[in-house]
């Protein structure tokens, strides 16, 4: 049987990959994908900890986080599509009208 620490290590790696993606990727869709990866890393950690503590509350929390992620996708894609319609680009470096 695999110990809890391995799950947590994997979730930490997933979270780090997501974080690196957020910082290095330049298009809105890929940044957003990286954020989703971070959310799923948190879900994995929650499930692993729930098993370690023998407590189901965190498992239900995972369902809530998944729902939140879905709602975020709906709003996020709507905003990305709005931007794309006007600029034909989702590169975040093009969003530079507001500065200072």
């Amino acid at each position: 049987m695999v110990g809890t620490e391995w799950y947590i290590a994997l979730s930490g790696v997933l979270f780090a990959i997501g974080m690196i993606g957020v910082m290095t990727r330049r298009t809105a869709v890929l940044i957003f994908l990286s954020v989703e990866l971070m959310l799923n890393a948190a879900n994995l950690a929650l499930v692993a900890f729930a098993r370690a503590w023998g407590d189901l509350t965190a498992q239900t929390a995972v369902f809530i986080v998944m729902t939140l992620a879905a709602a975020e996708v709906a709003i996020g894609l709507a905003i990305i599509v709005t931007i794309f319609r006007k600029r034909a680009s989702t590169n975040v470096d093009d969003l530079a009208e507001l500065k200072g």
Binding site: M38, W53, A61, I64, G76, E97
Partner: protein, 488 residues
């Protein structure tokens, strides 16, 4: 053997304020064919009813869902500040939104959903409830920032969304780690585990607390998580900026106080980090505001700087800091809302006005100029306005908790703040010869905006002259400590 079925602990009373606002939001969602004015009035009525129901809950310490939702006095205090800010936003929007062709009821629906989320944050007794509230508030906020169909508004919405969702993801990971360390998601449970030194892994707990601090840092614009703030506040329609910079910040601070004042009061490892972040926020916010030439952007940086001042209250003991925080948040909401409501009236477009164009405003619109001057003086922390007592109370709370260095730093940066607030204020009273703005026709102040400005100005003067009216209500240390222990 049949498992014992326990009926869920559902109590309607503590949920009532939230349900009323939610019902208003649903009505506003369904009523998209109705005139916006009607929907806005319905929204205001829903908010006022919700505020009234909070008053009836005062002192009752009601809880629901086994302590996951609790309407104790601190929660009601934050909730009432949220209601005040939201009502002022709606009043200011009644006259302003038709002028910028943003006159659709979706604005009111989104605003009410955001308020629903904020009340959930304030009433949360559980990290999951807190998270749900925070997300409802943030998602509605992203939409509001994007609502205006201009390139700037869309850019501001996109930046808000991307950075806000990163903040949420970090916060959720922090929640997961905190659960891993303490085995509990309720604030009272975490507090118990931390006080009893009964947790699995200290590094895990500290990492969880710090990630939650970072996640909240994105929402309240703590430096270095503040980068989105000036762009979003500058690009969003001014009425939306008013909402985002006041009410959203109140709710995020309510969450911060719940978690760091309520759940982690003993394990103070986060405190050193928080102190550094608050110090950075004070320095960056105030110096950046000093060099702004656009008035709307200046107010955006002023919002960052005020996050620093508000953060001082978090460093203090929750029993003292809590009351100071509620007072400062109320004062901050009124004075920022007043300044932005005036800006919404006098700006030629949604980009705000240049500082130089404020020259001679007093000779064109004496009433507006005086209201704006009062708000700016209060933001700068001058007596006899509310901002002075707000600053005094948070400085005192932080000082008494032993944070001497940072209190001195805050006092020094508030001197810098005097410069950038009083410069535009002084410009308004200088004659306007040769400035382009002088030829612009005077705007008519509508009834609703007049009421909103009246509420703000009377509020900051009243709180400045008689601060005890509000402060004494919250200045009972016991209620801030009980806030997290009551649910056991």
């Amino acid at each position: 053997m049949t498992p014992e079925l326990r009926p869920p602990d559902i109590a309607l009373a503590p949920m009532l304020p939230i349900l009323i606002v939610l019902a208003g939001a649903l009505v506003a969602t369904v009523a998209f064919r109705t005139q916006r004015r009607v929907v806005a009035v319905i929204a205001i009525v829903a908010l006022l009813l919700s505020g009234f129901s909070m008053l009836t809950l005062w002192g009752a310490n009601a809880t629901a869902f086994g302590g996951s939702l609790r309407a104790d006095n601190p929660a009601l205090g934050f909730g009432l500040v949220v209601i005040v800010g939201a009502v002022v936003t709606l009043l200011a929007s009644m006259d302003q939104l038709p002028r910028v062709r943003m006159n659709f009821p979706e604005f009111d629906a989104m605003l009410l959903y955001a308020v629903t989320g904020m009340l959930l944050i304030a009433f949360a007794g559980d990290l999951i409830v807190l998270l749900i509230g925070l997300e409802i508030m943030s998602l509605a906020g992203y939409v509001m920032a994007t609502l205006y169909g201009s390139r700037r508004s869309e850019e501001s919405g996109m930046k808000y969304f991307l950075l806000g969702s990163v903040g949420s993801a970090i916060l959720i990971y922090g929640i997961a780690l905190t659960f891993g360390a303490t085995g509990s998601l309720s604030l009272a449970g975490i507090r118990e585990a931390v006080s009893a030194q009964n947790f699995a892994n200290t590094p895990l707990l500290i990492a969880g607390a710090l990630m939650m601090l970072a996640g909240f840092g994105f929402k309240v614009a703590l430096v270095p998580f503040h980068q989105w703030t000036p762009d979003v506040y500058h690009g969003a329609p001014t009425v939306v900026t008013l909402f985002l910079s006041t009410v959203v910040k109140v709710a995020a601070f309510a969450g911060l106080l719940r978690v760091f004042g309520g759940a982690f009061p003993v394990e103070r490892a986060w405190e050193g980090v928080a102190e550094v972040l608050v110090a950075l926020t004070l320095i960056v916010g105030n110096t950046a505001a000093l060099v702004q030439r656009n008035f709307k952007r200046l107010l955006a940086y002023s919002a960052v700087a005020h996050t620093g001042f508000l953060g001082l209250a978090l460093l203090a003991e929750p029993a003292r800091g809590g009351a100071a925080l509620v007072f400062y948040l109320l004062a901050y909401t009124l004075m920022t809302a007043g300044a932005l409501a005036v800006l919404a009236l006098i700006q030629p477009d949604e980009g705000g006005v240049e500082n130089a164009d404020l020259r001679g405003l007093y000779y064109r619109q004496p009433g507006l100029a005086l209201a704006l001057a009062a708000c700016l003086a209060s933001l700068a922390g001058l007596p006899p306005f509310a901002g002075f007592f707000g600053k005094y109370l948070v400085f005192q709370a932080a000082f008494q908790a032993g944070h001497v260095g940072i209190t001195v730093l805050a006092a020094m940066t508030s001197v810098v703040a005097l410069v950038y607030y009083l410069r535009p204020a002084a410009l308004m009273f200088m004659p306007a010869e040769g400035s382009a703005a002088a030829v612009r026709p005077a705007v008519r102040v509508g009834t609703f905006t007049g009421v909103a400005l009246g509420v703000c100005v009377v509020g900051i003067v009243l709180l400045g002259v008689l601060p005890g009216l509000v402060y004494n209500v919250f200045d009972a240390p016991a209620q801030w400590v009980l806030a997290s222990l009551a649910a056991k």
